[in-house]
Symmetry: C2
Subunit: 424 residues, 2 copies
């Protein structure tokens, strides 16, 4: 069919549906087993960092500022604090370098706020009854899982091309004392791929908050994960918050999970010195310190920010063709149908596919029948409930390029079939 | 003086005090700077494990059951679960292998119990108002810090040569619904060095508990840390608890902090499958998984339990002379005074020195004047308060042997002077 489905006649749509159904049967018969669910680096990406495995031996240990093998220092090896201070764009007293998981840093920061409150607050968050978080959606399912698990009520806020809908954010934050937090993935947002505009960041930093203990969880997971040479700039929210007189508002997070190794990288947290001192006080009761040997491995391998940036270009070389394959398949097979829109990310790990309202679950089910596993429909919304049942996240980095082509054939045909079923 | 201070005449004691005071002045003039505060492995011990740093390269990664560099598995690399299941003496479904800190596993397990409760319980611990922990004392200061930080009330229970005073433990646990937990360091107890008798372990496993959500935190930190070839056997409390019909009672913890690297080892938790499932459910919201590359390093380096045991013999060869130096100095300089008793540990990391009641703080202060840093008096009791002001923990592993001799000269003279001041 050459025209959009909405402009086609009922007969044309019936013919197209029959073709899509027949094609679905053929695809099912292929017996594929492909997985587009999670933002996992592929083997070739992980291989880029293989020197990390062995770059710290006894010589490097002996040359470190302190013995990284032994106990000590709650906030990280000094040379790691220097590197990750740069990575996070903050001063040396504004960063904590931790273990392998930035999600754990975020989860634990929320747990501490629930139990003890935060600097400037007058209550543990658990007394907000219920504590509420703003959740720009579509968003990152694991953020939402943390909130749901910890009993924090989630309020979905729409996403735009410039970040969350700031009029709505400002209204909610200014009016509701129980809104204590907000999730943000400011660069190459998971899954929509957009980067917050300077105006969005400035408004987030400056907006009045009813709750004195309001915090922004700024998960800059894709800080250096560019697919182009001309990334949209991102303002440093800690700088903006200081300028606006709210230095304690943002908690910044990052990691090398998608720079070095997804399971064996280094995570970091950055914030005002007052927030950092508060976190360190709590962490001191939890642990004697992070794995400093792995921190040293990262310092030795990357050296400095230029080393990280050069490394990320090698990642981009591997994954760019995969992103291009997704776009090419969509443009060839789906664009003209007019029933779906695909994001055009310039970095990060995801595509966001918006289908006809009421078809996302069906699309995911159809793809599963044909052996292509997708993130469950709804996962990009709080409580796993997409009110319009239309958003699907695609993760193209882990499969091989030829697998992407196969998977996209399945996905595009599933979108066609589900849409035509819906349109009747 | 040849006799015990208590049997000496006032004149003899005055002479001895003058000698001790003069000696103190000489020691102060030496300008020493020694540290006997923390149970830290020394450099030579850490060097024993240097192959761990580089024993996993791309070849070992490729041969693993799954790619340890990538995301995945919340409870540890399968081969690490096999090794640490053996280490903890439990089945493969009863162990979680984590990051570098067993303290974090304990802290986080308590936080989860406070927020959510535990299997078989009907309330979050935070509703016990206040939740109480039994704390065999002298005990491990960081256990007490976790409780104090999290608002858990601590009840000190006396230690005997066979473990905590079980009559008192049984009474408290049977009668008080708010007693939800208990700390135990069952082998080479920190700091007294004793190992729990089989009867103690059986009574802990079998005793009736008023609180249905009562848990024993079994921190077997020194499971394989023997200084002799004939360690006192320790019963497996999970087996004993199953036999007594309380399979969910114990949570077992261990780590390689004092086997491989203090700051870059591997920690593990063991418990009934029901407890493990509960922990995994919570951990799944906190993290995408532990550092599996470091787990693989440990598997490759140690191989099996025999490998760990052989390695611990090399540790013992390094630290045994340090323990002997402490004993020799005590026996030569202090034993005959009758004013102090020293533990005779057959493993672990500490000595426990019991001085005259009311002198421990003074001893620590005098030693500090002479440049020897000791763990603060009282640290081995809940809230840092030794009711008798008599217990001091000595940690001999980190200093060099000649430093131990110097430090013990200072400590012994400080005990003499403080005791004679007290005796008048």
């Amino acid at each position: 069919m050459k025209s959009a489905y909405s402009e086609a006649s009922p007969g044309e749509r019936d013919d197209e549906k029959a073709r899509a159904r027949a094609r679905h049967g053929e695809l099912v018969d292929l017996g594929l087993a492909l997985d587009m669910t999670r933002g996992k680096p592929c083997r070739a990406q992980l291989d880029l960092g293989n020197e990390i495995l062995t770059c710290v031996g006894p010589t490097e240990v002996a040359a470190a500022t302190l013995d990284p093998r032994n106990y000590g220092v709650i906030d990280g090896l000094p040379e790691a604090k220097a590197l990750f201070g740069q990575y996070m764009g903050v001063g040396i007293g504004e960063v904590i370098v931790g273990g392998n998981s930035s999600l754990a840093l975020m989860h634990d920061a929320i747990v501490r706020a629930l139990l003890f409150g935060v600097p400037g607050g007058e209550r543990p968050w658990s007394q907000a009854k219920p504590a509420r978080f703003l959740c720009p959606s579509p968003g990152y399912d694991r953020h939402f899982t943390v909130c749901e698990h910890l009993g924090i009520e989630m309020i979905a806020v729409p996403m735009t091309e410039d970040g969350p809908d700031m009029d709505e954010v400002e209204h909610l934050v200014a009016s509701d004392d129980s809104v204590v937090g907000m999730w943000c993935v400011p660069r190459y947002s998971n899954p929509t791929g957009i980067t917050y505009s300077d105006e969005t960041t400035r408004r987030l930093a400056a907006m009045p908050a009813r709750a004195r203990d309001f915090r922004i969880f700024w998960d800059n997971a894709y800080a250096v994960h560019h697919l182009t040479d001309s990334p949209r700039p991102l303002l440093n929210i800690l700088d903006a918050a200081k300028e606006s007189g709210h230095p304690n508002r943002p908690l910044l997070f990052g990691s090398t999970s998608k720079v070095s190794f997804a399971g064996a990288g280094v995570a970091a947290m950055a914030a005002s010195e007052e927030n950092i001192a508060d976190q360190k006080r709590h962490i001191s009761a939890q642990s004697i310190g992070p794995d400093k040997v792995n921190q040293l491995r990262h310092v030795k391998f990357f050296g400095d920010m230029a080393g990280i940036e050069a490394h990320m270009k090698r990642h981009a070389t591997i994954i760019r063709p995969k992103f291009e394959a997704v776009v090419a398949a969509f443009d060839t097979q789906l664009a003209k149908t007019g029933v779906a829109a695909l994001s055009r990310p310039r970095g990060g790990y995801f595509f966001s596919l918006d289908a006809l309202a009421g078809t996302a679950r069906r699309i995911v089910d159809l793809a599963a029948e044909a052996g292509v596993k997708l993130t469950p429909a709804g996962a990009t919304y709080p409580y796993g409930k997409d009110p319009n049942d239309r958003n699907i996240r695609l993760a193209p980095t882990f499969p091989e390029p030829e697998e992407i082509d196969q998977a996209m054939d399945v996905i595009c045909n599933s979108v066609k079939l589900a849409s035509l079923e819906k349109l009747g």
